[in-house]
């Protein structure tokens, strides 16, 4: 244990890792604070760069950038009422109300402080949860893996803030995308239409960059520019945070726990955690009437929650290769590239690398406090940069980055195509996160499905015979039936009084 810890320290105390982490932190803070550029997009655009780094440095950049971006989304939320990332949308109104009351420092300070605490709580959950789960996971066969992946996909559709039918459809589209290529049980070209470039399949990373970055530039083409931020002087940012911590320690802990749980659930990430925690905070508050008028309580709980979900999202990613959220989906791609293939054996064979990941999360959350304070002070300058100067650079990064993944122009075509797909899906209420999960998990779910079927000689019964497999199957089928029950219930409720709500 101690030896592994020392090894882990040695792994991360190289100049490459330190510089990569600092640079990625600044990058994450800037991208996260710009409205419309999400934390997922920041991470996706970072992937081509990680190709050229050592494995630990590559993971360091992702850890640092995603942690910082989720916090710095709070900054424009508080100052402009425009959340920088969807994860801050839940409490942007509240934070802005505080700014108008002249409490901008308190709102932003709470953002930094409780984000850092949340991030560390999430990391602790990763350290505590992952190794024992890895022990259990070692005895999993393809049947369990199939149900686990299926359950993951179902969770992603359940938590989507949209129609579950559309979410399931989005998931199927993603799975269909993963079918393309010759990497299938028979090794035959499937859905390649004679195009040689499709033989290798559709790379997840260019698809993600298209869905999250290009689609965002497309949306920017049709929406008005956000107003420039008014210049202001900030007082002390950390003043009063300790008092808040003591006053709201229970809310903070609850936020941390909710964030960890939502992070572990596949597909549900920081934005979901923030919405749920903000609603919880309001529901259980002693003074719910103050919510919406610039009350810090909800900010504490939701801020503690969304950052906690970032680290705990890595639990299913590292153990099973099932992403806890879209950022973890990208991280999985990087892990595979770097030879750290997700799986329970990672915790025994590459234990020092795992400890290095924990350490990096903790360090990232600690340096977030000083860097975040600097960022808040510089925010009025960064946020003055017009969109017309940022979006073109994003476009170039999309083109060059997707080319760099395989030194192949086809990557750029993929990015463009998925930009359109992502844009059309989003505009019509199909959650893109579900599709992304489908793309990332497609190969794995197909492999476990077909291998299981071959083992069982085409029979479906063995899928339910092993005990853990049966439990997982029950949960997955329950998740599938749940929306149907809710829908039926709504129907019945709407039928009894003559006036339906719509």
């Amino acid at each position: 244990m101690l030896k592994t810890l020392i090894e882990a320290f040695a792994l991360i105390s190289t100049w490459e890792v330190i510089i990569a982490m600092l640079a990625a932190s600044v990058y994450g803070l800037v991208i996260g604070s710009l409205p419309g550029l999400s934390a997922t997009m920041a991470t996706a655009l970072l992937v081509p760069v990680t190709f050229y780094l050592s494995p630990i440095a590559a993971i360091a950049t992702i850890v640092a950038a995603s942690t910082m971006a989720i916090f710095s989304g709070d900054i424009p939320g508080a100052l402009l009422r425009i959340p920088g990332t969807p994860a801050s949308a839940a409490y942007a109104d509240e934070a802005y109300a505080m700014t108008r009351k002249g409490e901008a420092e308190l709102a932003l300070g709470a953002g930094v402080w409780f984000s850092a605490i949340g991030g560390i709580a999430g990391t602790l959950s990763l350290m505590i949860l992952a190794p024992p789960l890895a022990e259990i996971a070692l005895s999993f066969s393809t049947f369990e893996y199939f149900w686990l992946a299926f359950l993951g996909l179902m969770c992603a559709t359940l938590v989507a803030r949209s129609s579950p039918v559309k979410a399931i459809a989005g998931m199927f589209i993603g799975l269909l995308v993963s079918c393309v290529g010759i990497e299938n049980p028979g090794g035959v070209p499937r859905f390649t239409f004679g195009i040689t470039d499709l033989f290798g399949g559709i790379e997840p990373i260019p698809a993600l960059v298209g869905v999250f970055a290009v689609a965002q530039v497309m949306r920017a083409m049709l929406t008005p520019e956000p107003p420039p931020i008014p210049k202001r002087k900030f007082g002390s940012i950390m003043a009063g945070q300790w008092k808040l911590t003591k006053k709201y320690h229970w809310q903070m802990t609850r936020g941390n726990i909710i964030g960890v749980i939502i992070g572990v659930l596949p597909g549900a990430g920081a934005d979901m955690a923030a919405w749920v925690s903000y609603a919880m905070s309001k529901r259980f508050s002693k003074e719910p009437e103050k919510f919406g008028t610039g009350h810090v309580e909800g900010l504490v709980e939701a801020g503690a929650s969304n950052n906690a979900s970032i680290a705990s999202g890595w639990v299913p990613s590292l153990l099973f290769g099932i992403p806890g959220d879209t950022i973890a989906a990208i991280a999985i791609g990087v892990l595979y590239m770097k030879g750290l293939n997700p799986g329970p054996t990672l915790f025994t064979e590459k234990a020092s690398s795992m400890y290095a990941i924990y350490l990096m999360f903790i360090i990232a959350n600690i340096i977030m406090i000083p860097l975040g304070i600097i960022m808040i002070r510089l925010a009025s300058h960064v946020l003055r940069a017009p969109r017309s100067s940022i979006m073109p650079v994003i476009m170039l990064c999309c083109a060059v980055g997707s080319f760099a993944i395989g030194n192949n122009m086809f990557g750029v075509v993929t990015v463009a195509a998925f930009g359109i797909i992502g844009y059309v899906m989003e505009a019509n209420g199909y959650p893109v996160a579900a599709m992304v999960l489908g793309i990332v998990m497609g190969t794995m779910i197909e492999q476990s499905f077909v291998t299981s079927l071959i083992k069982s000689d085409g029979s479906v019964l063995p899928f339910f015979e092993r005990p853990i497999s049966a439990i997982l199957a029950a949960m997955a089928i329950g998740a599938l039936i749940w929306p149907v029950l809710v829908w039926l219930w709504q129907r019945l409720k709407a039928a009894s009084p003559a006036t339906s709500p719509r």
Binding site: F172, L176, G186, R190, T223
Partner: protein
């Protein structure tokens, strides 16, 4: 680009059916009951079922209308016309332009054109977009070509580094 649910639903039915049929045609692994055909078959059928459900408006009540936060101080409303929506297609079109032109024109020139077009389309004046079109490609070239050793096409204009 908000299409009626019937349109997207029927499209998904078609896509799902095509995928299932395409999967059906694939040869199984010799001597095994299943092979590369089963997965597309399952997914295609599922997608078609979802498409049918969406066409009939099932699950529509779950959808939340997107909250648009009203901006203070009276923002200029964007002009709404039929052609205005097509502006959204500019970014993917520019990426395809990059695919076609980068090898011939070289990275710097192609990237400059893309930056200029995107920036202008987002309402920048030439005072901003022109310097940006010169500097941004050079910066990106420096990072990706020099530091990360991505072989970017030189084309007509090669960089001194």
């Amino acid at each position: 680009m908000r299409l009626p649910d019937q349109v997207t639903g029927l499209f998904l039915v078609g896509l799902g059916a095509a995928a299932a049929y395409g999967g059906w045609l694939l040869p199984p692994v010799p001597g095994q009951p299943v092979g590369p055909n089963i997965f597309p078959l399952v997914i295609g059928s599922g997608l078609a079922l979802c498409g049918i459900a969406i066409t009939f408006g099932i699950g529509h009540t779950f959808e939340e209308e997107e909250e648009i936060i009203p901006l203070e101080g009276g923002q200029v409303r964007p002009p709404t016309g039929k052609l205005y929506g097509l502006r959204a297609l500019l970014p993917p079109a520019l990426l395809l332009f990059y695919v076609v032109a980068a090898d011939r024109l070289g990275f710097i020139i192609t990237a400059g054109l893309i930056v200029y077009a995107t920036s202008t389309a987002l309402g920048a004046r030439w005072k901003l977009s022109l310097p940006l079109a010169v500097l941004a490609p050079m910066g990106i070239h420096l990072i990706f070509s020099k530091l990360l050793r991505v072989p970017l096409p030189a084309g007509l204009l090669s960089m001194p580094w």
